[in-house]
């Protein structure tokens, strides 16, 4: 039986995927298609024949969306990248680039500011203090960039600014006692928490919608990749400077350590944000490609690991360090799964990557289940420490996330509902992460008396 509705939807999704048409444009075209199909059916064609003819008459989807991209002003910046002249928006673009430069300079200078008071953040003894505060040197500027770009009203900036200020005051007011475990945990979780807060600036009012949050997930993945690449470039530059000046017996490392790395990192962050924001939907996202390349490989490794573990009946997970290793495994699997999902067309039929995703999740759950049963028993014998609580909590949060995904995937394969539901679940689960990161950063120190 020919399913007309789903075929029309597949067709319009093709247009949607091109990204040049707004939703009303697509509705308009879809209605045109439906009108034509109705007319053809009344003169005696079957719905399938009518659909095929109408689609053919409509013309090549690629050509249509290309035409749209030429007219739609919203996408003008695309031509900005492709042909620099003849773009209306170049003034706008110059403004963003100016913002990137200014923010990088301010952010780098902020790093240097404590030095005036004799506090060098780059000294190794100030390591934790530095890491605890590092997000405040960069993320507020990232947030400011988006808030200015979106010309948002005072509400969102006020809320974000408030959270940042409060977080800064709190973590710097918190005392810290040996062995400083909670301080270290705060330093680790605060940037993640604040990144999610920065996400609100990126999403604007869209943060309430699945689509907005999904875009933020994509944005995060691309930022990590671009940021890493740009940072590698800075390291190459540093090594080059070192080597060149070494040839004439001048040691340039003071410059590299004090200036290049500081200003380089802050501008790397700002440039990354700018690039990822402007390139969106012109270039294909890279994170899903990486995820697709590596998810079969990770699946293979994990299956072999599971087999060997059961075969040799070894259970090496008795220490906390191993628990952290398993947290990483879960986080990695989650990353792979999410980025495959992020590039997936929700109306598509099951693909091979859906099955790989489910297999990955299930293997991870089994390995983690075995590990947890061994660890929890050992851990409880020695009482609770901040690190154990954090590692266990992390494991639990990830476990629930992956378990939920596995459950939804199975239901999806059984055709109980649309793929959309998986997206809704995953994007809503971000709240849980925000809550958890916030709790570790702000509440855990209080529970363990700042030790």
């Amino acid at each position: 039986m020919f399913d007309l509705i789903s075929n029309i939807r597949t067709w319009s999704d093709l247009l949607r995927a091109k990204g040049d048409l707004s939703e009303p444009d697509i509705i308009e075209l879809e209605n045109h298609l439906k009108d034509e199909i109705d007319d053809l059916v009344t003169i005696g064609l079957s719905t399938e024949e009518a659909f095929l003819i109408s689609v053919k008459r409509m013309g090549n989807v690629h050509a249509i969306s290309k035409e749209y991209s030429k007219v739609s002003t919203e996408n003008l910046w695309k031509h900005l990248m492709i042909n620099p002249d003849g773009a209306l928006d170049s003034g706008q673009n110059r403004k963003y680039i100016a913002m990137v430069i200014i923010f990088s300079l301010i952010s780098g200078t902020l790093f240097k500011l404590p030095e005036l008071f004799g506090l060098n953040l780059l000294d190794s003894e100030n390591g934790v203090l530095f890491f605890k505060n590092i997000s405040f040197f960069i993320l507020p500027f990232v947030a400011a960039f988006f808030l200015i770009k979106h010309q948002s009203t005072w509400k969102i900036p006020a809320v974000i600014g408030g959270i940042f200020a409060l977080a800064w005051v709190l973590i710097n007011l918190y005392p810290t006692y040996s062995p400083n475990d909670t301080e270290f945990l705060t330093a680790l979780h605060l940037p993640l928490f604040l990144w999610l807060i920065t996400g609100i600036a990126y999403m604007g009012m869209d943060w309430k919608a699945t689509k907005g949050r999904m875009n933020f997930i994509r944005f995060t993945g691309e930022s990590v990749i671009y940021g890493t690449l740009i940072f590698c470039g800075i390291i190459v530059l540093a090594m080059f400077i070192q080597a060149m000046f070494f040839a004439i017996q001048i040691n340039a490392s003071w410059f590299i350590q004090n200036y290049l790395i500081v200003y380089g990192s802050s501008s790397a962050a700002m440039i990354t944000i700018y690039l990822v924001e402007t390139k969106k939907s012109v270039v294909e996202n890279f994170a899903p490609i990486l995820a697709k390349i590596f998810s079969p490989l990770f699946l293979l490794v994990m299956l072999v690991f599971l087999g060997v573990m059961i075969g040799s009946s070894k259970s090496p997970f008795i220490e906390r360090d191993y628990l952290i290793a398993f947290d990483f495994m879960l986080a990695l699997v989650l990353g792979l799964v999410i980025y495959v999902i992020s590039a997936r067309n929700p109306h598509e039929k099951n693909t091979v990557f859906d099955y790989i995703n489910l297999a990955l999740i299930l293997t991870a759950l089994i390995i983690d289940g075995i590990a947890l049963s061994a660890i929890v028993f050992r851990l409880s014998a020695y009482g609770l420490t901040p690190n154990k609580v954090a590692a266990l909590g992390e494991n639990l949060v990830l476990l629930v996330n992956l378990g939920g995904l596995a459950w939804l995937y199975i239901r999806f394969f059984l055709k109980k509902f649309d793929f959309k539901k998986i997206e809704v679940f995953q994007t809503s689960y971000i709240y849980v992460y925000a809550l958890w990161f916030g709790m570790v950063a702000f509440l855990l120190p209080i529970f363990f008396a700042f030790q």
């Binding site: 009303p24 308009e28 075209l29 045109h32 013309g59 090549n60 249509i64 035409e67 030429k70």
Partner: protein, 119 residues
């Protein structure tokens, strides 16, 4: 006979403006009207109509509004504006120039042929 793509593209704007001058209309109806007028000689790639409509709207020749149809489908109707009417007049003059010039040359050709036969 198939009319060449360039000619179709060139004639699209006067067609749309002329049809909208008669009454407000929506995409599918405009396409149908063009087919009727040209007795199916002009084959449009129908999806291409919409970017053209967008462009006309941007140039302020036409404006659009949504209206429900009897089938419950939301349709985007287009209405011609003052600027559009002026543009249509201009286009009409241009096409008239081309048309009359071409007619004359073709008339000449026919006359020449006849002369040739007499000789």
């Amino acid at each position: 006979m198939n009319v060449s793509k360039d000619l179709i593209a060139a004639s699209a704007i006067p067609f749309i403006l002329a049809i909208l001058k008669q009454e407000d209309s929506y995409g599918y109806a405009i396409i149908k009207k063009v087919k009727e007028l040209t007795e199916d000689e002009l084959v449009w790639s129908e999806g291409m109509l919409y970017p053209v409509l967008h462009r006309l709207e941007e140039k302020n020749f036409i404006e659009s509004y949504w209206q429900g149809s009897e089938k419950g489908r939301q349709r985007k109707y287009y209405r011609i504006k003052e600027e559009g009417l002026t543009e249509l007049d201009m286009q009409k003059k241009q096409w008239d120039i081309v048309h009359s010039a071409l007619s004359k040359t073709w008339l000449n050709l026919i006359n020449k042929k006849e002369e040739f036969q007499y000789v």
